[in-house]
């Protein structure tokens, strides 16, 4: 099977996946005990049941669930993600406004993860079973085991409040300005820690394996400096296995963004999702879930393609 056909096939296969995600999410939102209208009128002393009925009709929430779902699908296919009921206007604008924030945070998390993981992994692999290896293993396990909300709170309390190295609130500068990048360090570290620890462990394992291979011995025998051997040969070959798990780590970062955005008050999609769930904003929940689902599907796809390029046998598995 050619690579192109493989990619095409995988792309097609992701359509039912996203369909499944949308059906499950839509169904679940409708199973919740209260809907958006309930939330809107529940604590307004002047709202009557008649007002609620009117709102439901206005939003189309009085229709049978399958009809509501079809309406939603029809909207999605025409690029209309529906309205944010408690506010009026459409979901699309809100998503576009919040998306860069979440992406910036995720990227920062990734940058941090790589900056720590690569040297850490090399260090551990070259000192396999020695003290440095054990220390880095301990550090990596700690990174995986520390709850990120706890880490974020602690970092903020120490570095932003006590030491005053960072502002507490984001500096309201453009995303790529120096002030903003400086501010993003703490949330980035918080969100990237787990990914970094995972990546470090994977790198260590695959590098250690790689270093036992014949070509490394041969390279060393040729008298190449150890540094060149490690970086040019071992690391490059090990990176491949690390890159292929990037999809999983990305899913982890997306998950983590929910909590980290809440802790740092960063107006991204994760924080928006919690708000949307609290208010039962169907269209908003759907849009965010679909976006995240699509992101994960794409990341998985990228990983599969990478695998397929590296190891053509894999294509037969799909």
């Amino acid at each position: 099977m050619s690579l192109r056909r493989f990619v095409l096939r995988r792309l097609l296969a992701s359509v039912p996946v996203l369909f499944g995600v949308s059906v499950i999410t839509f169904g679940m939102i409708h199973l919740t005990p209260a809907d958006i209208v309930d939330m809107m009128v529940a604590n307004n002393p002047d709202a009557t049941a008649a007002d609620a009925a009117n709102l439901r009709r206005e939003f189309g929430l009085h229709l049978p669930i399958w009809e509501q779902y079809l309406n939603w699908v029809a909207g999605m296919l025409t690029g209309d993600m529906g309205e944010v009921y408690s506010r009026g206007p459409d979901v699309g604008g809100m998503m576009i406004a919040r998306l860069p924030e979440t992406i910036a945070l995720g990227l920062f998390g990734w940058v941090f993860a790589i900056l720590i993981a690569v040297p850490g992994g090399i260090y551990a692999a070259t000192r396999k079973d020695r003290f440095g290896d054990h220390a880095s293993r301990f550090a990596a396990l700690s990174g995986i085991s520390i709850p990120n909300f706890w880490l974020g709170l602690m970092l903020m309390a120490i570095f932003a409040v006590e030491l005053n190295w960072f502002p507490v609130l984001d500096p309201q500068e453009p995303l790529l300005s120096r002030e903003m990048l400086w501010w993003l360090i703490l949330p980035g570290v918080t969100i990237g820690t787990a990914a970094s620890a995972n990546l470090m462990r994977i790198l260590r394992t695959s590098m250690a394996e790689e270093m036992n291979k014949d070509y490394v011995t041969a390279a060393r025998a040729k008298g190449l400096p150890e540094r060149t051997v490690i970086i040019k040969h071992v690391l490059r070959n090990s990176m491949i296995s690390a890159v292929t798990v990037a999809a999983f780590l990305t899913a982890g970062i997306v998950s983590g963004s929910v909590v980290v955005e809440v802790v740092f008050g960063w107006p991204g999609l994760g924080a928006l999702l919690i708000e949307a769930i609290n208010l039962r904003e169907i269209n908003l929940i759907m849009a965010i879930t679909m976006f995240v689902g699509a992101a994960i599907v794409v990341a998985n796809l990228a990983a599969d393609i990478m695998y397929a390029v590296l190891d053509p046998r894999i294509r037969d598995e799909y």
Binding site: F138, L141, P147, W150, N198
Partner: protein
């Protein structure tokens, strides 16, 4: 795509091996199996000092789960001991925010409740949910993955697409939605973590089965007319289970962090519950209590530390088991909450 997929080809036959499949064999390496799996794990745990400490911590916490408060089953007291010095919900047993002392080893919280009692009792939620979720999720995952991997073909295709759907939800987001549907609470949280959690086991065991089922004794068993169910669960699963065991150990920690994260977001348990994440949520304001204020560190440090110690311990144990079984599971932990 390959037409070979899922089809079994008989290439060799050895009747003796079929009748006595060696339990210790897995993978392709038939001759090196000398020790039983259990022995290997135990030996590795003893050799790996990190893991030994982990085992010790986990045992302590399980002890806390069992003995911190009396346990009654259907009205009968099955465990009468009560280690907690104070009622975990009793307010005013000390002053508001009393620092750690002999009377209150972890200080008191904002309502003058004893933190030590609460943190100790809190192990009940995290630890049991961690084990129960992993138990249920791995069982479901094994059954699902085995069926999918063994039968292959269309069955496999459909079942894998279902898996893809589950994987397209990051764990915490699905859990958030489920909590919105079912509300917070013990069994609701179990459900919220089982539903996204089983998929990884299904994928793992399916992958292993695809490898294992080409083995001679499996083919032979099939050729001899053994029923599908017995082939899968007597021959294939036991030989493919190593990575699942490793994954299960490692993911207990992930579940515990996830439960605590939901608690922290105020979505897991009702406010007064002595669950670690919920305590952290209620006490997070003590971290930033304004200028020149005393930092009531004990209110946040101890519950956070407990989460960390338990998860760390499970991960060290999982690591050791991974080494012992040489299962090479990459623990892709989705970060706090995944």
């Amino acid at each position: 795509m390959s037409t070979q997929r899922g089809r079994i080809q008989i290439t060799g036959f050895d009747a003796d091996r079929v009748e006595q499949p060696d339990e210790a064999i897995w993978g392709d390496d038939e001759d090196t199996a000398v020790m039983s799996r259990r022995q290997r794990i135990i030996q590795q745990l003893i050799r790996d000092r990190f893991a030994l400490v982990g085992v010790f911590c986990v045992l302590l916490m399980i002890g806390a789960v069992i003995f911190s408060r009396p346990i009654t089953v259907a009205g009968i007291v099955v465990q009468p001991f009560e280690l907690v010095p104070y009622d975990v919900t009793a307010t005013g047993v000390g002053d508001r925010y009393e620092p750690p002392s002999l009377a209150h080893p972890m200080g008191t919280d904002r309502l003058g409740r004893d933190m030590f009692s609460r943190v100790l009792a809190g192990s009940y939620y995290s630890v049991t949910i961690g084990f129960i979720v992993t138990g249920i999720a791995s069982t479901v995952g094994i059954i699902f993955g085995s069926i999918s991997g063994y039968f292959g073909g269309t069955v496999d295709e459909i079942m894998m697409r279902i898996l893809d759907v589950v994987f397209a939800f990051p764990g915490l987001i699905l859990a958030l939605l489920l909590v919105a549907v079912f509300g917070g609470g013990y069994w609701q949280l179990v459900a919220a973590f089982v539903l996204p959690g089983w998929a990884i086991y299904a994928r793992l065991i399916r992958g292993e089965i695809l490898k294992v089922k080409q083995n001679e004794y499996v083919l032979a068993a099939k050729a001899l007319g053994a029923r599908d169910r017995s082939v899968v669960f007597k021959h294939i699963v036991p030989n493919a289970i190593a990575p699942v065991i490793v994954q299960a150990t490692l993911s207990i920690g992930t579940v515990v962090i996830g439960v605590a994260a939901l608690g922290f977001l105020g979505l897991g348990f009702t406010p007064g519950t002595p669950e670690w994440g919920t305590i952290l949520d209620a006490e997070q304001d003590t971290l930033m209590s304004g200028p020149d204020a005393d930092w009531n560190w004990w209110a946040t440090v101890f519950p956070g530390l407990m989460i960390f110690i338990f998860v760390m311990s499970m991960n060290m144990i999982g690591d050791a088991i991974n080494d012992a079984l040489d299962a090479q599971v990459d623990n892709i932990n989705h970060g706090g909450g995944g």
